[in-house]
Amino acid sequence: MGWARLPAAEPALDAVATGATAAPAATMPAGRAGPATDVVGLGRWRALGFVTPGLVLIGVFLVFPALWTLYIGVTDYRLTGTAARAPQIVGLENYRRALTDPTFYRSMWLTLVFVLGSAVLGQNLLGFFFAYALRPARPAVRRLVEALVLLAWILPSSVVAFLWIAMLDRDGGTVNVLLGQVPGVAWLIEYPMVAIVVFNIWRGTAFSMMLYSAALSGVPPSQLETARLAGASTGQTLRDVILPNIRRYALTNTLLITLWTFNDFTPFLLTAGGPNHRSEVVAAYIYNTAIVGGEMGYSGAISLLVLLVNLLLALVYLRVARVRPA
């Protein structure tokens, strides 16, 4: 997404981080109905009219089911069995259960490893590397590499999952064939987390690459020139000129890919959370409790916990974004 105009992602973060809003206060009259309430003369009521279709759709088809899910989270509701006929309110029992269940903590831990390894480090660094290294490249080379990276991003998840199943297959997978061992290592079983981390880096680097290449094009050439004239090494230039300039992009990028990766279901298609829950990230855990286990109440509670963790992550990022480097 947003492989257009990625710098656009920045002002939003900025707006919240500083509590300011993109619309300068100067365009707003003090609650007085006049000819000019805003730049286009939309007026508050018409603006509400514009917002309404979207908000109604979101309200009915997202917020309402979501709140319902949260409600289910305080019941013992199951998809089948007696509890499906007459669900009972069990209060915080589901939360107590989740918070005392080592499998829940394990899935949270695995998710953090997954997010940290594949998104925060993997996609971020590789995306930046591609964006940086491709700048001086010939347009043809640049387009080819970008197209490949993007392709990994836009193909449907079931297809890419199968591509990687084929890559990593124990008996005839490309990796084992290249390593000259058939049957070779059962990658998805022996190294399930490594497999899904590598997979997700492959899958999602495109977004970071796009965002960083947009960000890098915004670094003033004069600053780069200055650094070059001062005899700065590549590392120094990166640290002193480029990073300060793209810092906020990096934060926005990290926030978005963190949230997406946290809730990404695609690893399930590779390992189904296995073997023995060893790659059961939260999205897979919810699927396994809700669909395979039929425990709707419990999975509703888990969803709220996940929401809270996500909220926490988002707030941390916003806080970091607000603190300017000295």
Partner: protein, 356 residues
């Protein structure tokens, strides 16, 4: 064609910032009028309020015989040129110029004929099919002007029309703009922070500060007799000398000397603290002692082309004077400064208003 009249116009933003403070102003029909002031003085807000892009908190805007205060911008019969020109990037030059006519529901051939005509007048004939992105800054400015001209408004509103051009182009555009306004004779209000631009273009200038108008007048009046120290400070390419002084006897004690009544109009109350204002252009410099002149040492010399600005330190005060380029004194040497007769202005120190 119409005059523009503002009555007790006040604009208060949420949070209590007063961008316009009970402002009264009349711009005559066909006048080229400049709103001049430092950034944040409310000049752009004033322009936008005239355009209808901002609603005044109280007061009235009249254009011609109409009270337009409650009208939407489109109904005010004004055309505005924005600082960034606001050329629609997805339209050709022709479509841009014709856009106001499209809104006025003119037929396609009619509006493109008219747009072409206006474009040709403004020297854009060869560019009509280009997109704005393919134009130079000067060309973009002309397109924006053409678009405003094409809709034949009774008032033009220009928001910093020249500030996005480089220095050389700006002079050209300035001349062009002035000629255009003369030809069309449409009431024009333009906002600028550049006093030279205002002096060069405008029939009359309103100098603004903090939501108020500090002086309205012709360029000559504003330059020659700034109504207060704010205007005095703001106008002129070299800053006016503003020296603290005390009225004593028949003269004013200033910078270690006394300016005698023969060279200045005497102030009203003896013993009053005043500020003496005199433009460097009106200070003559002598390397030999002159009677009744202020004396000091040359500290800095700045070359301004045909003239040089000499800064002299006289009894702790810095006084500027311009001299022809071939008459520069030696830095560090002692010189004598005498203001030209009738060019010394006395301001009250308490409120900075002109006394005489």
């Amino acid at each position: 064609m119409a005059d523009v009249e503002l009555r007790a116009l006040t604009k208060e933003f949420p949070g209590g910032v007063r961008a316009l403070d009970t402002l009264d102003l009349t711009v005559a029909d066909g006048e080229f009028f400049a709103l001049l002031g430092p950034s944040g003085c409310g000049k752009t807000t004033l322009l936008r309020t005239i355009a209808g892009l901002e609603a005044p908190t109280s007061g009235q805007v009249r254009i011609g015989d109409r009270d337009v205060t409650g009208l939407v911008p489109g109904a005010r019969d004004v055309a505005m040129v924005f600082q960034d020109y606001a050329l629609f990037p997805h339209m050709t030059v022709l479509d841009n110029i014709a856009y106001p006519l499209k809104i006025k529901r003119q037929s396609r051939p009619e509006r493109s004929g008219r747009a072409r005509g206006v474009g040709a007048n403004l020297g854009l004939a060869a560019l009509m099919d280009r997109r704005p992105a393919a134009l130079s800054g000067g060309q973009q400015q002309r397109v924006a002007l053409a678009r405003a001209v094409a809709c034949h408004p009774s008032v033009f509103l220009f928001d910093e029309p020249l500030s996005n051009l480089d220095a050389r182009l700006r002079l050209e555009a300035r001349t062009f703009l002035k000629r255009l306004q003369r030809e069309l004779a449409v009431t024009t209000i333009f906002v600028t922070h550049d006093q030279a631009e205002a002096l060069a273009l405008a029939d009359r200038i309103a100098v603004m500060e903090a939501g108020r108008i500090r002086q309205v007048g012709t360029p000559r009046e504003v330059f020659g007799r700034p109504a207060n120290t704010f205007v005095a400070n703001f106008i002129g390419s070299t800053p006016m000398n503003l020296l603290p002084g005390v009225v004593s006897g028949g003269g004013v004690a200033v910078a270690g000397g006394t300016l005698t009544p023969s060279t200045i109009t005497p102030p009203t109350a003896p013993g009053e603290r005043v500020i003496v204002g005199v433009r460097p252009e009106y200070v003559s410099l002598s390397t030999t002692p002159v009677d009744g002149a202020l004396t000091g040492e040359v500290s800095i010399i700045e070359h301004l082309g045909a003239v040089s600005l000499v800064t002299v330190e006289a009894d702790g005060a810095l006084i500027g004077a311009t001299v022809p380029e071939d008459r520069e004194p030696v830095p560090g040497s002692r010189v004598w400064l005498s203001p030209a007769p009738g060019r010394v202005l006395i301001y009250r120190e308490s409120d900075g208003e002109l006394v005489t």
